[in-house]
C-alpha cells in the first residue's frame, strides 16, 4: 500500500494548480480532476479497480450529485417533465443502444449478448459532467437543459434494468422470471421504505433539527438522509445514486429544500472531485498508446453516431438548433457506462483488452465533453443558421432581472404586495417557518433559507437579480446579509430597511443603493426605486446608438446622441398608441417612465461630453441644440402625461368622448410628421409642420367655445377638464414646432 499522505498532497496540489489554470481559460474543473487522476495513477501506479474504499468514496460524489438533482425534482416537477424523461429518455436509450449493439455485433463481431450490453453502456451519457456544466452556466432552465436533464434522469433509472440484464445474461442458476420477480419485489420494498420515511418522518426530523438552530446538527441530519437512503437502495440491489435521487425528491417537497441544498454543495463538489479523479485513475496509458488509432477512430465514431441519433429523435419536438445543441450536450459516454463495462469484464463477457479500450473511449469522451458543451453555441451556429427570433427566445429564458426579498415580516409583506402591483418578479427568502407558511398561503414564490447564506443566495441567482431588498426586522441580520452579498459581488445593489438614521454608518462599507426607515411609505419609495432601476436596465439594454461611444471622437458621439434622441419620439408615439388602444393608465405611465429614464441616459452623455472633451465651436452649437431639444422633449413628455389623464377622464363622458379620440389622432398626426423630420430631414415636411403648429389658435378656440357653450351642457368639472386639456394641446403643438425648428438647424449643418 502506498503512503497515502504524499499521494493526497500531490493530488490536491496538482488538482488545484490545474483548476486554477483551467478557470483562467474558462474551462470546467472536471477536466482538471480527470487529468489529476490520470497523472497520479501513472506516477504512483495506483488503479481504482480493486480498491473498494476509493470506489465507494468516489461513488458518493455521484450520490450527492443525484441527491441535489433530486432536490430539484419534486414529484410534481417529475410529472411536468414526463415527456422529456419518459418519451425522449426511452427513445434515446432505445435508439442509441440498438444502433451501437448492431454495430458491435455486425461490424466488430462481438457476441450478441455482450453487444447488447455494450450498446446500452454506450447509450448512457455523463450525468456528472453535463448537469454540473448546465447548472454552473444556468442553462439548465433552457429547452436544451430540459431535454438533457429529462434524458439523463431516464438514463439513471435505466441503469437498473441494464445491470439486471447483465445478471440475466450471466446468471445461469436462476430463471428469468425468478430474477424479474425478485427485482420487482426489491424495487417495491426499497421505494416503499424510502417514500414512507420521506413522507412521514423527514419533515418532522428537519423541523426538529431546524429548531435547534445548530448548523452542525443540520449538516449531520442531511448526511444521514443521503447516506441512509443510498444504503437502503443499495441493500435492495440498486445503485447508491438512485437512493440519493429519491431522498432528494422527498426533501424537494419540504420547505427545507434550499437550505439543505446550500449546506450540501461543499460536500457534493468535493466528493464529485474525488469521483472525477477516480475516473482519471482508470486511464491506462499503456493501452492508450498501444491502441491509439482505434481509440481515436472509435471514440470519434461513438460521439458522431450518438449525436446523430439524439439529433434525429429530438427533431420531432424541438427546432433543429435546439435538437443539435441537446445532441452535442449528451454525445459523450458516462460514468455509469464504466460501471457497466467493469461488470462485463468481471463476468468475462468480452475480451479484457477490448473492454479496456471501451473504457478508455468512455473516459476520452468525458474529457472532450466539457469542450463540446462549452462551445455548443458556436458548433450549432456553424452547422445550423437559425432565425434571430429563435435565438433571442433561447437567450431570454436565461436572463434574471428578478428581485430577492429577504424577510417576510410586516414590512416584507407590504413590499411584496407593492412589487406584485408593479408586476415585478420577486422571490421571498425567509428563515422563519411562520413567515414561510404565510408567504405560501399568499401564493408567493418563497424559499426557506438564511438570508446571509451565500450558497442560498447564489441558488437564487443573485448575480442576475435586479436588486436585493433586506426587509429584516433584526439589524444584526441586515448587517450579516449585507456582508454576505458584498462577498458574493460588491456590485450587487442592496436596498435595506434600517431601524433609524443612527445605524446608517454601520452599513457604509456595503453597496447600499438606498437605506430607509419607516414602513408603508418606505415600501412605496422602495418599489418606485426598483421600478426605476428596472426601466434603467431595460432602456440601457435597448440603447441603439449610445451603447458604445467614445469621447475621442466627439463628432461621432454627437451624431449618436442625435439618433438616440429621435428614439424618444418613438417612446412618445407608443404612449399615443396606448391612449388609442385604451390601455390602462399604469400601462401608459410605463411609457412615460421609460421616456424619463432614456432621456436621463441621453442627458447624462450630453453633460459628460461637454465636461470631459474640448469641442469645436460648431460642435458646441450642435450639442446646444440637442440640449434644447432634450428640454423640449422632456416638457413634451410631461405635458402629454397630464393630457393623457385628462383625455382618459373626457372619454368617460359621452359629451367629450369624441373630442378625446380626435385629440389623440390629431396630435399623433403631427408627431408622425415630426418623426419623419427627425429621421430624415425634408424641408417640405418642415414647412407643413410649421403650418400646422403655427400659433394660429383659431381652430382650437372655436372648439373650446363650442364645448363651453350652453348647447353642450358640460358640468363644472367637464368645463375645467376641457380648458386644461386644450391648453395642453396648444402647448404640445407649440413644442412639436419648436423641436422641428431645431431639426432644421441641425440639418443646416450648424
Amino acid at each position: 500500500m502506498h503512503n497515502l499522505i504524499p499521494i493526497l498532497i500531490a493530488a490536491v496540489g496538482l488538482a488545484t494548480l490545474l483548476n486554477v489554470v483551467l478557470k483562467k481559460i474558462n474551462m470546467p474543473t472536471v477536466i482538471g480532476y480527470i487529468c489529476t487522476g490520470a497523472i497520479i495513477g501513472t506516477v504512483f501506479d495506483i488503479h481504482v479497480h480493486g480498491n473498494e474504499t476509493l470506489e465507494h468514496i468516489a461513488e458518493f460524489g455521484v450520490v450527492f450529485l443525484m441527491f441535489s438533482i433530486g432536490l430539484e425534482f419534486s414529484v410534481s416537477h417529475l410529472k411536468s417533465m414526463k415527456k422529456e424523461v419518459f418519451l425522449f429518455g426511452l427513445l434515446q436509450v432505445g435508439l442509441c443502444a440498438a444502433v451501437f449493439a448492431a454495430i458491435s455485433h455486425l461490424i466488430f463481431d462481438i457476441e450478441l449478448k455482450a453487444a447488447i450490453i455494450v450498446g446500452f453502456g454506450l447509450a448512457l451519457s455523463s450525468t456528472a459532467i453535463v448537469l454540473k456544466i448546465l447548472n454552473e452556466t444556468g442553462k439548465i432552465k433552457t429547452e436544451v437543459g430540459r431535454n438533457s436533464l429529462g434524458i439523463l434522469i431516464f438514463q439513471d433509472i435505466a441503469v437498473i434494468p441494464i445491470l439486471l440484464l447483465i445478471t440475466i445474461f450471466t446468471d445461469t442458476g436462476r430463471s428469468l422470471s425468478e430474477l424479474l420477480l425478485s427485482t420487482s419485489m426489491n424495487a417495491v420494498l426499497a421505494l416503499g421504505i424510502l417514500i414512507a420515511i420521506g413522507k412521514l418522518a423527514l419533515g418532522h426530523i428537519f423541523k426538529a433539527v431546524a429548531g435547534t438552530n445548530s448548523k452542525e446538527i443540520y449538516m449531520g441530519s442531511i448526511l444521514l438522509t443521503v447516506v441512509g437512503a443510498s444504503y437502503i437502495a443499495h441493500h435492495f440491489g440498486f445503485s447508491y445514486s438512485l437512493g440519493g435521487f429519491i431522498a432528494g425528491m422527498m426533501i424537494a417537497d419540504t420547505i427545507y429544500k434550499y437550505q439543505v441544498e446550500a449546506d450540501l454543495i461543499p460536500f457534493r463538489d468535493l466528493l464529485l472531485g474525488v469521483f472525477f479523479v477516480s475516473v482519471g485513475l482508470q486511464i491506462d496509458f499503456n493501452i492508450v498508446a498501444a491502441n491509439i488509432v482505434a481509440v481515436i477512430a472509435l471514440g470519434a465514431g461513438v460521439i458522431l453516431v450518438k449525436t446523430l441519433a439524439i439529433f434525429c429523435l429530438l427533431l420531432f419536438s424541438s427546432s433543429k438548433k435546439v435538437a443539435l445543441k441537446s445532441a452535442i450536450t449528451l454525445c459523450q459516454v458516462g460514468e455509469f457506462s464504466l460501471v457497466v463495462f467493469s461488470l462485463v469484464m468481471a463476468n468475462k463477457m468480452m475480451d479484457p483488452t477490448a473492454v479496456q479500450i471501451l473504457m478508455v473511449i468512455v473516459i476520452a469522451s468525458m474529457v472532450i465533453a466539457p469542450f463540446l458543451i462549452n462551445n455548443v453555441e458556436f458548433l450549432s451556429g456553424v452547422l445550423i443558421k437559425s432565425k434571430i427570433e429563435e435565438e433571442a427566445l433561447d437567450q431570454s429564458s436565461m436572463l434574471g432581472g428578478h428581485v430577492i426579498l429577504c424577510g417576510f415580516g410586516a414590512f416584507g409583506r407590504v413590499v411584496s404586495e407593492q412589487l406584485d402591483e408593479s408586476r415585478i418578479n420577486h422571490v421571498v427568502l425567509t428563515n422563519n417557518t411562520e413567515s414561510f407558511v404565510k408567504a405560501k398561503e399568499s401564493h408567493k414564490t418563497v424559499v426557506f433559507g438564511e438570508p446571509d447564506d451565500r450558497d442560498t443566495l447564489e441558488r437564487l441567482k443573485i448575480r442576475d437579480a435586479m436588486s436585493v431588498i433586506l426587509a429584516l426586522d433584526d439589524f444584526e441580520d441586515v448587517k450579516k446579509a449585507s456582508a454576505s452579498i458584498t462577498l458574493i459581488d460588491p456590485k450587487i445593489k442592496i436596498i435595506a430597511k434600517i431601524p433609524s438614521e443612527e445605524e446608517r454608518h454601520e452599513l457604509e462599507d456595503f453597496n447600499h443603493e438606498l437605506l430607509l426607515d419607516g414602513n408603508q411609505q418606505t415600501a412605496t419609495v422602495l418599489v418606485d426605486q426598483i421600478n426605476r432601476s428596472r426601466l434603467l436596465t431595460k432602456e440601457t439594454a435597448t440603447l441603439q446608438y449610445l451603447d458604445d461611444y467614445s469621447f475621442d471622437n466627439p463628432g461621432e458621439t454627437i451624431q449618436k446622441i442625435e439618433r438616440e434622441q429621435t428614439r424618444l419620439l418613438d417612446v412618445i408615439s407608443r404612449s399615443f398608441n396606448g391612449l388609442r388602444e385604451e390601455k390602462d393608465i399604469m400601462h401608459i405611465k410605463a411609457f412615460h417612465d421609460s421616456f424619463k429614464v432614456l432621456s436621463e441616459i441621453i442627458g447624462g452623455v450630453i453633460t459628460e461630453l461637454m465636461s470631459s472633451t474640448s469641442l469645436s465651436p460648431k460642435e458646441y452649437e450642435r450639442i446646444n441644440i440637442l440640449l434644447d431639444n432634450q428640454h423640449q422633449l422632456i416638457s413634451m413628455n410631461d405635458t402629454l402625461e397630464k393630457l393623457g389623464h385628462e383625455l382618459k377622464a373626457m372619454k368617460k363622458d359621452d359629451k367629450t368622448k369624441s373630442l378625446s379620440e380626435m385629440t389623440v389622432e390629431g396630435l399623433d398626426a403631427i408627431l408622425l410628421t415630426l418623426k419623419d423630420i427627425a429621421g430624415d430631414y425634408d424641408e417640405d415636411d418642415m414647412l407643413m409642420l410649421e403650418g400646422i403648429t403655427s400659433n394660429k389658435k383659431g381652430g382650437l378656440f372655436r372648439i373650446r367655445e363650442s364645448y363651453l357653450g350652453a348647447e353642450r351642457d358640460l358640468d363644472a368639472s367637464g368645463k375645467s377638464l376641457l380648458l386644461s386639456s386644450t391648453n395642453h394641446i396648444d402647448r404640445l403643438r407649440s413644442l412639436f414646432g419648436q423641436i422641428g425648428s431645431n431639426y432644421r438647424r441641425l440639418s443646416e449643418g450648424v
Partner: protein, 112 residues
C-alpha cells in the same frame, strides 16, 4: 372600409367621393388613388368627405403626403362636406391651416 369613386375632367380636376373610415386600415387605398390621379396629371383633387365618418392620424398623414406630391406641380387638395368630428380633428391638429375646406361641392370645385 373606404370606398373611393373618382370623377375627373380633362382640365386636371379630380373629384374623389369617399365613404367609410379613413384610418390605418384604409389610408393606403387613398394613397393609391392619389398616385393614380397625379400620374394622370391632376392639378386639383377635391375630396368629398360627406360620407366619411372618421379620420385617424394615418388618414391625416396620407393627406399630407398627397399635398406634398401635388405641391411639386403646384396643385392642391381641397375638401368639402366634413362632419363635425372630422372638422374637430382638422382643427385640433392644425391641418385646417394647410387645407382649404368648403361646405359645398360647388364652392370646392369653383373657388380657385
Amino acid at each position: 372600409m373606404l370606398r373611393i369613386e373618382l370623377e375627373n375632367d380633362d382640365c386636371g380636376l379630380h373629384v374623389m367621393r369617399l365613404s367609410g373610415a379613413l384610418d390605418g386600415l384604409t389610408y393606403l387605398d387613398l394613397l393609391k388613388a392619389f398616385n393614380q390621379s397625379i400620374e394622370k396629371e391632376a392639378k386639383r383633387i377635391v375630396l368629398d368627405m360627406n360620407e366619411v365618418d372618421y379620420v385617424s392620424s394615418a388618414g391625416l398623414r396620407v393627406l399630407l403626403q398627397g399635398a406634398k406630391a401635388l405641391k411639386e406641380t403646384e396643385g392642391e387638395i381641397v375638401l368639402f362636406g366634413m362632419n363635425s368630428g372630422v372638422k374637430e380633428v382638422f382643427s385640433l391638429s392644425g391641418f385646417k391651416t394647410l387645407f382649404r375646406t368648403f361646405s359645398s361641392e360647388y364652392d370646392a370645385v369653383s373657388t380657385s
